[in-house]
Amino acid sequence: MEAPVLSPSVLDLDSAAEVDFIGARMREIVGRDLKRRGVVVALSGGVDSSVCVGLAVRAFGPEKVFVVLLPERESSSASVTLGRRVAAQFGVVPVLQEISPALEGLDCYRQRDEAIREVFPAYGADWKSKLVIAGGVQGGLNFFKLVVQAPDGTTQEARLPPKPYLQIVAAQNYKQRIRKTIEYYHADRLNFAVVGTPNRLEYDQGFFVKNGDGSADIKPIAHLYKTQVYALARFFDLPQEICEGRPTTDTYSLAQSQDEFYFALPYEKMDLALWAVNHDLPAEALAAAIGVPVEQAKLVFHDIQSKRATTRALHSRPLLVRPVSEIKPL
C-alpha cells in the first residue's frame, strides 16, 4: 500500500475564524471559569507571545490586557524594541521590568558560571555560552553539549557530565520562574489571569520550565502548530522581523536556535513530523514530505515519543498519594 501523502497544506488555517474561536474561548475561560477580569501577557518580542497579545486584545480589549516586558542582561537587544512595537500596534502601553537585579540577588549567573567552569575552567564573565542537544536524530541517545565562546570569538564545546548539566539548567530556569512570579504579581494585583504562550510543539514536547514559562491560567495557542502561529502573526500584520524571524530560546548568552537546543528539525519540518505522529502516518510519508531518508524520519518519530515520555512530569499537577475526590479540576 502506498504511504498517504503529507504536505504543508495540512497545517493551513482559516486565520480569521481561528482568531474568533480563540477569542470566544478566552472570554469563557477567563470570565466564566477563572472569574478574572482580564489577562497578563509577558511579551518577549517573539512570535508566540506577540500573537498571544493580539489574541488577548481581540478578546478583551486593550484596557483588559496588561503587557510586561521582562528582559535580562543576556536577552537579545531586539527583544524590548520589538515588544514595544507589538504592544503599540495593539494599543497597549507595556510595563518594562529588567529582571537582572533579581537574578543577581538569587545568584543565578554566578551559580551557572561556576558549573560551566567545572568543564571550561577559563570561562569568565566576558565569555558566552549555550547548550546544544545532540545524539537523538543521529540514532543515538539525546545528550547536551556545552558551547562556550571566548572574548576573541573562538568557541569550544564539550559533552556535559550530569552535575554541571543539571546546575546550568537549574540556574537558567530562574529566568523563566522569576518572570512568572512577576506576571502573577500583576495578575493578583489586577484580578487578571496569566496567559502562557507555548505553541503546540513546545507544549507537546515539554519545551518549557515547570513553574516557569510552563505555568499559566490559560494557554491560548497550545493547540496550534508553530507554522499556524506564524500564520496568525501575518494575519495580525505583525512586524516583518517577527513574521520572518527564526525561533530562538533567548535564554542563553550565545545565540541559540530552538532546533539546536531542543528540537530535531527546524520548526516547519517538526510541525509536519508531529502532525504525522498525531495522525498515525508512517515514516515513509514524513520522509517524502521533508526530503529525508526513511530511517531518519523513523528517528524523528522516535525522538518525538521519547521527549513526550521524558517530559510527562513537567505537565503533571502535584501528585497525591491518595485521591481527594471532592476536589475537581476546572
Partner: protein, 80 residues
C-alpha cells in the same frame, strides 16, 4: 566484582527498579523507562569513573548502552 554485577548494582541503587530480579542482561533500560536522558548522563559518568574508560559522543547509542549485557560488552571492548 564482575563488570555486569557492578553495573547492575549501580542501576538498582540509583534508579527506580521495583523488581531487581527483572533486570536481566537483555532487559531494555530505555524501553522500560528505567533511565531517561539525565539517567544516561549519570550512567556514562559511572562507567567512565568506575572502569576508567572514555565514552565518545559517537558511542552514546542504544547498541552500547541499552541493556546491562550491551554495557558489559562495551566496557570489555573499551578496556580490551
Amino acid at each position: 566484582m564482575q563488570i555486569s554485577a557492578t553495573i547492575r548494582e549501580f542501576i538498582a541503587k540509583n534508579f527506580y527498579v521495583p523488581d531487581p530480579a527483572s533486570l536481566t542482561d537483555e532487559a531494555s533500560l530505555l524501553d522500560r523507562g528505567v533511565i531517561d536522558s539525565t539517567g544516561v548522563l549519570e550512567l556514562i559518568g559511572f562507567l567512565e569513573d568506575t572502569f576508567a574508560i572514555k565514552v565518545e559522543d559517537t558511542e552514546m547509542i542504544p547498541e552500547n548502552l541499552d541493556t546491562i549485557g550491551r554495557m558489559t560488552a562495551f566496557v570489555n571492548r573499551k578496556k580490551g
